[in-house]
Amino acid sequence: MSELLAQLAVCIERGKVNKASPYPPDLRGQDGAEELTKQALDSGVAPSDILEQGLIIGMGTIGHKFSRNEVFVPDLLMAAKAMSSAMVQLKPFFESGQARHKGTIVIGTVKGDLHDIGKKLVAMVLEGGGWNVIDLNVDVAPEKFVETLKQHPGAALGMSALLTTTMVNMEETVKRVRQEAPSTKIIIGGAPVTDEFRAKIGADAYSPDPQGALDWLNAQVA
């Protein structure tokens, strides 16, 4: 069984969605994440094992490669696509409580910023890493972040901005969250964001890449 999950992890890492997918060329015609997840569930593998020994391993491998600049956005998106094809089959087990998330994170791009590629990648990696991701999508006002955090006590907050002109809006959200949901852990990212900027606005963490965000979140619940 561990071999099936190891194969699943490889499919996630390499972005092999399903048997019909021509990518990657060297896995053409072979089962992908979709088929392998189904086989694992049919053979009675616990959904939590599929998550932990398949998806998390696969996404972790590609996430670390992304951090090291060994792979790039297109590769990570393919991996995320493969992961989604597995995740959709695991969803009912999360809903019934048979599988558990490590925690919840509310995520979105800041007010004025519609560029969600980075945020989308982070959401996918976090989800693949076992987190419940509440994605508020793009152009999220500070009050919307606060309202959602109040509905999900204990959730962390992740914000991203692609533009130097919008990243400053993170400061307002951090202030509001500190006032109204003070125990929230806040992590920020996005192309122009730096750790120096994080320190200036008082967020808890900055990550230049999705895997760094996942590692930081995991450390918060360890």
Binding site: V71, F72, P74, D113, T164, M167, V168, P192, P208
Partner: protein, 455 residues
């Protein structure tokens, strides 16, 4: 004085007596005249007003006409969402549902291009003879991302031929936009292609380089300088970017300027950047801005380097910070002062103490200078002090603290002096960068003397 010839010399990789300076004033121009980004970016009158103000305050050698990477996308049918203090964002991607044949024909008479034409026409008249005007065009890769959305990244793997087709189309749009800017008088045409920071060097070489090269060749044929701006951490693509056929490369703070300098020089390109936009220019102090300008100026060197912020200036950037940068650009003496202070920024000067001025009979004049032997304003200030001492009939202790030396910098910090030169009377900065006449200073010394004696 702004000097576009100096900028052109740098773009030709010649050495320049001072760094040419191009503040990327986009929506920040709206802030300068108190209007929102949507009002600003839709009105040629407002943009002209904002850029005139920027010209007056920042004394730039070059200025972008409009910094808005959504103009071509808007004409091609992308829906835009506007916000108060930022350029608009693309909210819909027409190539998700349709093909290239479904897009409206590209026309530089449509959308906000007439606004850009009017801005160029006006600015050419009053600032164009001394300041170069930049026409910024959306890079083909970023325009493809606007049209196709994130699917572009998956297409690069799953449907590369489609990506090539769209890039080819977007390069044609970029050439048409370059022609438009050049015909209306732009001196420099820059491709701004931030999305390329997200891909690998292999993908850059395959999907981006052939198309941007086509545009750069087109700009060259039009007789303008060409530049490539990439915001974001494009370090891994730096070498591939340097191998494109542009004249100049501009980068942001995520990239090492010395690394760019070395690669650009190897590839016969001028280069520039990379002042920190948010932590320094937006959120920092004037002093932070000066020190960051000096960092860039010293790292960039005097050959083929253009000082600029890393990307589009945030709306609310304090003008004082950019004025401080302009001071560094135009005043060699101020650069010297800033360099000296930078070198000592980590020293806490715990060993330097000030006397108990109130306990001394004499009035103490601490004069903080760069060096009165070498700097004319410092010399005039010291001469004023000597003249005043001769005039007064009270005991005066005169100390010059030259910030060329550690002791001088320590005294500057202890005394709370912020400008050079400054005269402090019994520890209080009294004449900052203003040289008093001898009579005025003599009266101030006597007044302090009476104060100490309780008179």
């Amino acid at each position: 004085m702004p000097d576009k010839d100096l900028l052109f010399a740098a773009l030709r990789r010649e050495s320049t007596p001072r760094p040419p300076w191009v503040p990327f004033v986009g929506v920040h121009g709206g802030c300068l005249i108190g209007v929102s980004a949507p009002e600003y970016l839709r009105s040629s009158q407002r943009i002209v007003q904002g850029l005139r103000r920027a010209h007056e305050l920042y004394r730039p050698d070059g200025l972008p006409v409009i910094f808005d990477l959504q103009m071509e996308a808007e004409v091609l049918g992308c829906e835009l969402r506007w916000a108060e203090e930022v350029p608009p964002s693309v909210a819909s991607h027409p190539l998700i549902a349709g093909g290239l044949g479904d897009l409206p024909p590209f026309d530089t008479g449509a959308g906000r291009f007439p606004v850009a034409a009017a801005v160029l026409r006006e600015l050419k008249k009053d600032v164009g003879h001394k300041t170069a005007l930049y026409g910024l065009i959306t890079g083909p890769f970023t325009l493809t991302a606007h049209l196709r959305g994130h699917e572009l990244f998956l297409d690069m793997i799953m449907h590369p031929e489609q990506v090539h087709e769209t890039m080819n189309y977007c390069a044609s749009i970029a050439c048409a936009t370059a022609r438009f800017y050049r015909e209306h008088g732009a001196d420099v045409v820059a491709i701004v292609d931030p999305m390329t920071s997200q891909i690998s060097p292999e993908h850059f070489r395959e999907f981006v380089a052939p198309y941007v090269n086509r545009v750069f060749d087109c700009v060259r044929d039009l007789g303008a300088f060409s530049s490539l701006f990439v915001c974001g951490d494009a370090t891994r693509n730096l070498e591939a970017m340097c191998r494109t056929t542009c004249d100049n490369l501009q980068i942001d703070e995520n990239i090492s300027l010395p690394e760019l300098r070395s690669l650009a020089q190897q590839n016969n390109k001028s280069f520039g950047g990379n002042m920190r936009l948010t932590t320094v220019l937006l959120l920092g102090t004037e002093n932070d801005a000066k020190l960051d300008a000096i960092r860039c100026i010293d790292q960039g060197g005097d050959t083929g380097f253009v000082l600029a912020p890393g990307c589009d200036l945030p709306y609310g950037t304090p003008p004082a910070n950019l004025i401080a940068v302009a001071q560094m650009v135009h005043d060699e003496y101020q650069r010297d002062v800033a360099r000296t202070l930078t070198a000592s920024s980590l020293d806490r000067f715990d060993d330097i103490t000030l006397p108990d001025y109130d306990a001394l009979d004499a009035v103490t004049l601490d004069v903080v200078t760069l060096d009165s032997a070498a700097c004319p304003p410092c010399l005039y200030m010291v001469q004023a002090v000597r003249g005043a001492i001769e005039k007064v009939a009270v005991d005066v202790v005169f100390r010059e603290h030259k910030i060329r030396h550690r002791d001088g910098i320590g005294h500057m910090l202890r005394l709370g002096v912020r400008h050079i030169p400054t005269i402090c009377i019994d520890g209080k900065p009294t004449y900052e960068s203003v040289i008093p006449d001898v009579e005025t200073l003599a009266r101030a010394i006597e007044a302090r003397h009476r104060e100490k004696r309780g008179q």
